[in-house]
Symmetry: C4
Subunit: 310 residues, 4 copies
């Protein structure tokens, strides 16, 4: 994180201009820039803004891996990615390693066909096609989070619609379609449940459509965002909303669903800002300890390649 | 906390007189002082009492932020406040920052209209109006806790009454009314689900009425107390009671609800005393580490102001 | 723990004789000594036995306080006790302080009427009568654990019988009667839900009868044991059994209940031995940190006596 | 772990040849070696492979004990084992001690009849017969994990079939038969619920059959694997699948079960690789602290042998 550049501004116009100049708009996802500016006019203080650089995106990606494990979104499995800023048809992911152990040395660059650019000695994730095919059809998406959070699975396997019950999950008004690998006709001859080729990745991206999250039957979910932070927060609040929906089912009665107008206040670009610094601080510190312990044993037992299919 | 003053007393009359003199009554909320005094007559020992000073209130507010995160009442979001002792129409909150990261440098003073008094460079919470409007109509309230605890949400979205099943949640005999932002006619033109202006804050405070807690549909809850400790404990036991109620629903049968006479032993002023020192010790220690880690990175990535709406 | 004495034996006969001589039988609760001896004959190795001294009982009591918090049986509230070995009509508890913060300095001695023997400056728990009245009518009981574990409450408030579904909860074949404070005719004029006088304590002990656990409606549970370890493990496995019973309810169908013959292998004296050293190691270490933090602030904010009713 | 040998290879043919030479095939369980090789052909990089030695198996066994506690599969009880590589009719387990406290000094060797080979002073687990009788009839099994995870119990006590809902639990397509000690005719005269003799062990192994997991009514589960890592991951994903199945029940509707073709991608040899290094790093570090604390008190209170029945 040392290589990142930061700047302070107190003038809001200069601030927003500066954002556009440095690409911070893309980083934080501000489709409603006008509205944001209007709001900013009413506020005061001196925001600290992180410019949107290649290294900052990678730093966020590493922290996201840690946060996913620390929040329990991932039990060790799962993988996030971030689009390259310098070469927007490419993206970055960790190599095939547990989320909580990812460090700068594990980052892989992939091209528009999810083919590894490098480093040569790394093993990329078999399911990178989820990420690559979403980036292809969703230019607004800068980050993808894929995980297997248990509480979300029941919605995928029963087809019960996941509808927003919490303001923080307002993005669910756009729906959470269910991708079922069993229904994919053109699967490139792949069996099993993993999205391990272009055909399955494409089908998954199509199912996602314009939504913020796609549920995957018997598998998990993938969320997208204008930033790593937003994709992470969307995975978290999809999980929280699932817990609430399951408990609501228990209470009985007809729940009041959050509607389009209500959700507006929670749309792209405004979700994760307050959570992230705390989530990151705790998760990075804990992962630092796991990584230290992991390296302590000299060489960590690693199964043969043939076992590393997923 | 160094700036706090403490004193020991062994004589109970002197103790209660001392309390009144230093304002400890206000701090610990003793509406039934006579009863308390009678009880105190039967007890022995040397209590240590914290005088109710402005700085002690702020110290409690900071710890409350940490406790909310540490107990899982808040996932990082949420915000407590405390009424100013020196200027009771004003109150204090943290600026817009995650609960677990709050330190003395983050405290904002707000006036009777929830307008920031200072410091000038800080960003206040958009939902400060929940707090300000409750202080306006409830002079007995010295502290407010607002959070999004998932297990509480199902009661708000289904309208199932939250009734007390545990002695520690006896305060729920006064009811837990549901505030639904959708039903507010005079909303000052605000859309979305957040209580971000005076009109919505007023409606929320009216819904609370004389209760200890107001549920907020699709959003969370706000609890009040005669002290920060009490408002915190009420949020905790509303959560615990929600868990019990959900599980009771599963078992079936008609549960025995705690009645007015039974709840009396759990009313204002007597809740949080034994929990607080442990909750505070653990949460403050952990937050100290998060804050250390958070500051370690030099400047923490912070999104532009326009993203900081809630 | 330094003051405890330990001894090693390899001869099983000498071991069991030694136990009787030092009182270890009482400590570890071996009603079926003959069976135990027969089993021991078949085994080998060198057990380390802790003699049953006054200080060892108090050390176990302190660790039990920590374990209750660390396992989540207590949210800070709750209180265990142990019978005095030297004066079996007396017993020990912590003063009125959160479980996770208890240290040697907090231990109070109470007499057969739950009147404090000393130290003079300490505040005893209002609900000590639960403990004192059980010790009066159950000479086999050496320890009592009282807590408010949420998952157990639904059984008390609905009257659904808690029946054993897990071998570790085999002690539930003796039943888990429900004490309801509302049903006590001779309550000494006490209102509220707390067991704060002899009359209510007596009614609670009568409801317990010969069982290992008494559920308390809208309040929690109290478990008993031949040792502190056993009373703790019974609270833990009553909790685990409650979780299993709630989930079993969800699955539907008629569950197979553990019967008398099956439970025999889990009866008094054999429960907690393997769990305790790990539970204790983790909990004592964590509590040491909480206590350190708690004392760091100089004087810990403590509410006036009149607030310390429960 | 210092005594382990590792080697790096970049040539995949040499790698697979090397594996066979060192026994790594047995360690990581590669029944579909051809398929694995084919996959490996497509991949790149330099895997680090741990040869399958006696000491590496024991090291994995120790870590497995820690992981079981750290993941909450075990509350302290439970026990894993690993088959001896040098003498495949023998196997290793910890002595009768809590999972989270196991160190190299606690390892016991048992023969084909589950009779202790040594060390002489150690107390073996009463339920070692679960392990020994599975090894006898399942030569493909190199490791067994036995635990009491609460969420799994409802399936055993109600007979509701546990069917795979998550890809990671694809091994459940082979079924999860329920062993009920009550139904065993030839039980060697043993009462209670514990599998403490050859007859009960044999009945349990017969019920397991060719499956990956056997549920044990009112008791828990036992899972098997081609490696310690796989048996651990199967216990974990049986637990996760149980949570998903319970929640799915709540949602209602008819869930889509993972079928044979879909499960294929998750079959023997491919499960635990990515999780293990993180699970191990965190669990070993934590257990190191528990063990340190446990030894700090000089001698840890240990009940008499007769209490150590299970």
């Amino acid at each position: 994180l040392k290589s990142s550049l930061f700047f302070n501004i107190s003038d809001r116009r200069r601030f927003l201009t500066g954002m556009a100049a440095t690409g911070a708009v893309a980083l934080f996802g501000l489709p409603e820039l006008g509205k944001g500016a209007a709001f900013a006019q009413e506020a005061g203080g001196e925001p600290v803004v992180v410019p949107d650089t290649e290294e900052q995106r990678i730093a966020d990606l590493i922290s996201c891996n840690h946060v996913m494990f620390d929040l329990g979104l991932a039990d060790a499995m799962g993988h996030p990615s971030v689009r390259s800023k310098n070469n927007p048809s490419h993206y970055y992911m960790a190599q095939s390693i547990a989320t909580g152990l990812v460090s700068r040395d594990d980052i892989v660059e992939l091209d528009e066909n999810s083919k590894k650019v490098g480093p040569a000695h790394m093993r990329e994730h078999g399911e990178r096609f989820i990420h690559g095919e979403i980036y292809r059809v969703r230019p607004d998406v800068q980050a993808v989070v894929h995980c297997h959070t248990p509480e979300v699975i029941p919605f995928g396997v029963t087809g019960t619609p996941m509808r927003p019950l919490l303001h923080m999950a307002g993005f669910l008004v756009d729906g959470a379609p269910v991708f079922d690998v069993r229904e994919v006709k053109d699967n490139g001859g792949h069996d099993g449940m993993l999205v391990e080729n272009t055909e399955l990745g494409r089908a998954c991206a199509q199912k996602l459509g314009k939504s913020a999250v796609v549920l995957m039957r018997g598998h998990g979910m993938s969320t997208v965002g204008a930033t790593v932070q937003q994709a992470t927060a969307r995975a978290w609040y999809t999980y929280v909303n699932a817990v609430i929906a399951l408990d609501t089912q228990r209470l009985g009665g007809k729940p009041i669903i959050i509607n389009e107008a209500e959700a507006l206040g929670r749309r792209p670009g405004r979700l994760p800002e307050r959570n992230w610094p705390l989530w990151k601080a705790r998760a990075d510190a804990r992962s630092a300890r796991y990584i230290e312990e992991y390296k302590k044993t000299g060489v960590v037992p690693m199964p043969p390649r043939s076992s590393l299919r997923e």
